[in-house]
């Protein structure tokens, strides 16, 4: 039966992309085809149910919860209007977490971007040992934030004289410094930025490498004939050709930075007391303290919404500016 239903449109649509079933397909659609529908439903159902429950229902429920007084419970009913949002925005700790994460993002995104692009250019130029080099830069991506935090906190940036940073400093006559706890100057940023850089740079380097390898050789050869070399070649050819990759990388970096949690929690958290005195609290840490620590799920939901709105907003603006995302229907 299938064979007969589908032979008719075939001759016309052969070789065309499959997602434009116009004309003949429209005629076919009118006859309700149970088998086609069944197959479609069967293949998409798990994904649709999953996304429905864990995204749509979750968001909807949580939105209602953000309008309720939900302390120690996730049940709806005790409506308080916008109280949670008022409390959230009135909380200096939350506002401070937003400004700190913005600062962090402003640091980490350009640095990671430049470093991963630089590494990609370097690896791309190197002939002998390129595979080894790429592996060396990529392998930190296998490490979890927890394990990296451990090394950073207990070995590299330990406050003790035996910490690597202090030991190196000691060779140059510097005093031992509590890297993670010193507030003035805020040395902990060095630990935070280097940690994330080490973990992520290989990942983005691979993206740039893929972009670099997609640039046709002829473009370079033509430019070289015009006498372009070195930096000019980079600025005139390489960077413009990497525009799409760059935009994607920036977006991924931004979203990742805004949702930072793991390394902050593990570097600054201590004992049973959680992370109350952490010098930098990210919005997700605030949400974790609010929802998991103080059990205030209403306030936690409200915070989730404000943060989500910020991320979506920035993504949309970035997409509008760069013309990105248009192909996403």
């Amino acid at each position: 039966m299938n064979a007969t239903t589908h032979t008719a449109p075939r001759s016309e649509r052969a070789g065309r992309p499959a997602d434009t079933p116009r004309g003949p397909a429209r005629a076919r659609r009118r006859r309700f085809d149970w088998r086609t529908w069944g197959a479609f439903a069967l293949l998409t159902a798990p994904m649709l149910i999953g996304l429905g429950v864990f995204k749509y229902i979750a968001i909807g429920w949580s939105f209602l919860l953000s309008l309720s007084d939900a302390q120690g419970t996730i049940a709806l009913g005790d409506w308080v209007g916008l109280d949670n949002y008022r409390q959230l925005l009135g909380d200096a700790v939350f506002r401070n977490s937003l400004s700190k994460i913005l600062l962090f993002t402003l640091f980490i995104v350009p640095i990671t971007f430049a470093a991963s692009l630089g590494l990609a250019l370097l690896v791309n130029r190197i002939r002998r040992g390129r595979a080894v080099l790429r592996t060396a830069f990529l392998i930190p991506a296998a490490v979890s934030y927890v394990a990296a935090s451990l090394v950073w906190k207990m070995s590299l940036f330990s406050g003790m004289p035996a910490g690597i940073a202090n030991m190196l400093g000691g060779w140059f006559g510097m005093e031992a410094v509590p890297w993670l706890q010193a507030g003035d100057p805020p040395l902990y940023w060095i630990a935070l930025v280097t940690l994330r850089l080490w973990l992520q740079v290989g990942f983005y380097m691979v993206l740039f490498l893929a972009g670099l390898q997609a640039i046709p050789k002829e473009v370079y050869e033509a430019a070289a004939l015009d006498g372009a070399t070195g930096l000019r070649l980079l600025r005139r050819i390489t960077l413009p050709m990497l525009r799409n990759t760059s935009v994607a990388v920036l977006m991924l970096m931004f979203i990742a930075a805004f949702q930072a949690f793991d390394e902050f929690y593990n570097l600054f958290g201590g004992g049973m007391s959680g992370s109350g005195t952490a010098p930098v609290k990210t919005p997700l840490m605030y949400l974790h303290d609010t929802a998991m620590g103080a059990q205030n799920y209403g306030l936690g939901s409200a915070g989730s919404f404000v943060l989500t709105a910020l991320i979506v907003g920035v993504t949309l603006i970035q997409g509008r500016i760069t013309g990105f995302g248009k192909s996403e229907e």
Binding site: A18, T44, L48, S62, V146, M160, A162, E221, A224, L252
Partner: protein, 281 residues
Amino acid sequence: MTTVREGARTLRRPVRGLLAGVLMVVFLAPFYLMLRNALMDTQTLTSPEWTWWPSTMHWENFTDLFDDPTLDMGRSLANSLLIAAITAPVSTLLASAAGFALARIPVPGRGVILGLVLATLMIPGAATFVPTFVVVGSLGGVNTLWGIIVPGLFNPFAVLLFRNFYLQFPREIEEAGRLDGLGWLGLYRRIALPSSGAMLASLGALAFIDSWNAFLWPLVIGQDPSSWTAQIALSSFLTAQTINLPGLFAGAVVTITPLVVMFLVAQRHIVEGIAHSGLKG
């Protein structure tokens, strides 16, 4: 490439090589530190005197890790393995199935459904952990392995990648399958799925890594030590009341080893997977 730039390149080559070498050492140094510290005793580890490599190797740091009554490292590793081993293939298969249907099976309303799937791409994963906790909690998923696994099985981004992939799929092959009497399900299982091996492998590898290294969600949902993953166990170890430093590093080595091995063995797939994930949009 051309003679014009050849001169500059030969000059710069040693510099470049040196730079690459130095960077490589910097990037690999933390691994060395981890291993060195894991094999030391506490005294040498906290001494301000620098030691390149412990004179006596304390392998017992590793065995102690699995004998520690306060922290069940063995079980946590088993949990992590189970979670990643389920998440990677299942999430990839689910995405592939949905991607295939959304790319190839023409049904009315498909555009709307695709829109609903793609709209979830906008929702940042970690930032919405409170809503997810609310739903999973009400379904009784706190402190269970399924509570950790199931919310991570639905990846709209992978659906998009698979859809793009299946859109490129030559129609001729599909028609040939149809002539053999295959329906849509048969086409997917017999023809589309077998030919997406590389996609499945690369996205599956990425899913495995993400799942193994996940921290926030397992932290939120797996409160009881019986449902801890390796990352949670390590973190608890790090914030415990008494700290056994060499043991901590031994724990770190143990939790990263499976992935480091995987990176070395399946690097091609991982690199491809990362390259795919940059295609977003």
